[in-house]
Symmetry: D2
């Protein structure tokens, strides 16, 4: 028996250039589409008669972008979701995930060039649109935002057992590659503006927080989003603890005045939580 099934297209890459005279705008997305519905017979009997090919899903991304240039990933995701739901009677739920790769403008003699761009960081802006019938849920997020604070971070007073060797640390480096996703109250919003407001709230809370643990800071960041951005109803944060270990210089006849660290990739702590109103 088929308990749960979905199919779709992932990693659809879209670059869009909008030309306004000498000033071009560049948008760069990776899109994923996921269908759930009455498709059981394609699994059990190999009956494809109701199956929209994933290749067509890909084509549709390009066709809709050509017809309605993308301004906000959230709105473009909704357009795709509506398009698929209207034309596919077997489709019960559709999910569109968009990742925006961010570019800035190259500066020439301190002036932004209109047609030359430089790729920004590893950080991406994300958006998720879920549709069911004529109901839509819209969320957004940020992924792989790598941040670090070099003060106001401690981890002390924790539980100890026979295998605990970690010492209390009053002043450590706190670093993470933040993935945050949040849900919006409505589907009509200035999504670009709101996204920036959430990102600002996350970064400011991280910078200003007097951290007693990753959990503690994660919660404060989530609360800051809910406090500052009315449109958000829930926010989920996933924060790997990118440990920075102070180097033991005493074996080299030197003192480490909390200045020399080794960042480590593995193992890593992983802290996650959802904060709701």
């Amino acid at each position: 028996m088929l308990a749960e099934a979905a199919y779709g297209k992932s990693s659809v890459r879209l670059v869009q250039v909008s030309r306004h005279g000498d000033r071009h705008d560049l948008k760069d997305f990776t899109v994923a589409i996921r269908f759930e519905g009455e498709y059981d017979q394609s699994y059990t009997d190999g009956d494809n008669s109701g199956v929209l090919p994933t290749d067509t899903m890909k084509n549709t991304v390009y066709a809709l972008a050509a017809r309605h240039p993308v301004e906000e990933p959230e709105a473009f995701g909704r357009l795709l979701a509506e398009h698929f739901l209207e034309r596919n009677p077997r489709l019960r739920r559709v999910r569109i995930d968009l990742t925006e790769h961010q570019w800035g403008r190259i500066a020439v003699k301190a002036r932004e060039h209109g047609q030359a761009f430089v790729r920004h960081g590893t950080e991406s802006r994300t958006a998720t649109v879920q549709g069911k019938g004529d109901q839509f849920t819209i969320g957004a997020g940020v992924s792989d935002l790598v941040i670090l604070k070099s003060s106001h971070s401690a981890f002390t007073g924790f539980l100890r057992d026979e295998y605990t060797t970690l010492p209390d640390v009053a002043d450590r480096i706190l670093a993470t590659a933040l993935t945050a996703t949040w849900r919006y109250r409505t589907v009509d919003l200035d999504f670009n503006l709101t996204w920036r407001a959430v990102r600002d709230a996350l970064l400011e809370a991280f910078a200003e927080h007097d951290s007693r643990s990753v959990q503690h800071t994660l919660h404060d960041m989530g609360r800051a989003v809910l406090d500052n951005v009315e449109a958000v109803t829930a926010v989920r944060l996933v924060m790997p603890n990118k440990h920075h270990l102070p180097v033991d210089l005493s074996r080299l006849g030197l003192e480490n005045r909390n200045e020399i660290f080794v960042p480590t990739e593995e193992p890593y702590g992983l802290i996650e939580a959802t904060i709701v109103r």
Copy 2:
């Protein structure tokens, strides 16, 4: 309000050498541990008094491996889960994920060497143990098992709309990087033997199936597992469609007799389903 929260340690690397005279056994794991429970105050107030450090979780992996050499990842995962549940009254649910990296022996003059090993493929064996109170659920899996069939795969008769350009294909390459996970009926099993039986069932079904779509083959593979391995109650398969496109040689004045293909990384179809009894 904190709606959902978890913390733990990921990417704990463990290599274990068991020495039986001239013949050594090598085991190589990546372990992740995830705690859910009464830890809200660590988030809201920065109160760490009930928080077992993730560093201690890591130490515990090494300590338990030293005391009870790992034979089966499922059994070792259960040992870890029990250990944590017994000692941490605030812990409500624990999850242990293990990934086994597989090694074979180097052959010297057609004889397996006792102490020299070569790493096998990208394929990993996985195991998941979930514990709550004194209840345990055990599952296993395989990840990144890259397989391809060069015949008996078609995709025809699908739904067409204005953006459909894909032609019917009667004889195509079907390739995927399989991730499968399954759940066991009991917690007492010969896990190594059963894992091999499931893997065999998956591979045989893939090889023998007369495929009308990825969905169709996925379902057949899932059914083969349930038919052949009584201990499995449900199996989930995730199969990215690693498209192999026939090269259009006609523009080069040549014919492609279904022999020359370009494998592509993106975009890719993604098919997933759970099959239960």
Copy 3:
């Protein structure tokens, strides 16, 4: 016979926090060290008596950073090179490669925070110091600087043969992930200032160039460096052509007004050259 041999330590990770009251400076490097010299007996006879362990090379990075905080990667590389050459009579040539991972400051209410940082892009600053006896050669570079221009790029009038299907394109996207390395005339320079001048010259030339091919733009960028920065004697550029293919929308009943593109990862053109005075 041993024709060529080297040994060393790679991927030594160093994070340095310099504390000036409320304002901290953060430096983040990956360092590689490579020794060539009279070490043949360690290969042929397993005689380690003259071999400085690579573990000691790693320790030395931390020890020297503790004693002389890193301001410029070039100067720190030279310090390391001198240290090793002075103490290791068997060492004939040493090479130090440094990669600096760049961080900016988090802005809080439009003011830069003194102790909170956000990781910049994928772009890295690199430096290479080579030492032999008391002679040092110093170079620098940039790696994985992803840039794109949406106009003033053509590729026409090329050689055609029986397998050529590429059409002339008068207006295409030109994108690359630039790796550039250059050599300095002297070992005494304001390395930070000079590095920024070279990077500016590269970006400005890329943005302003009327490109007839990647080769053509590569050459112009190299020439701009030599024209603008007297301290540089040679510059090498490696430019993968990150193809952006216009989507054929005609099959979807739509027109592509040079606005909708698919960026592709493979295959890619690869253009490289060294420009010298």
Copy 4:
């Protein structure tokens, strides 16, 4: 002035299915092509009239594979090299690099299936053909062959200085991801057979060697190739030391009987040498 320049196409992916009734053969390659020659005007003046597009290089790979199915990567590389040299008078040197991704057959009821395949390891077979006029040099190799020995590996008696903290170790794990490349005396060989002979020699030497250091084992492996395979004139080995650190269990009240290790990714030792006759 242009001191050194090359252009070409990288990451050309080719999958070839040869159909012999029910038994298919599968070949999977990544190909790179690199041209050096009289192309300066394309750099300096943007004159493309002598430039074969890299897109044509890609097409040529598919066209030649369609006309001459690939049996040996070395022979196919030579075919490509000859093709380009004959038709491009400006081409002075051409280099073809081929990487073969290895597949085995899926076994069904202990019998190899004719049309179903499973991808082997991360290990690749490589080949390099260099052509200049009518002179060709052919080499081959293996990359990312991950091997480990759990005995007969020591590292003792090395040089110590003020920053040395590494203890002598008489019995350690030795692990590496071997990249080896070798050059053949002639261009007429049974390349498949010879490649397997070299690989066997490398693995046997690694397994049997009584290692005093990575350098020591590397040299023994290189010598084994020259001793066992007459057709090879020189072999280069690059061996990252994938350190496996014994876990300090004493702090957990336990003893580590040289059984529990943490494999680390960074930093790593890097040993390389070329062995010639």
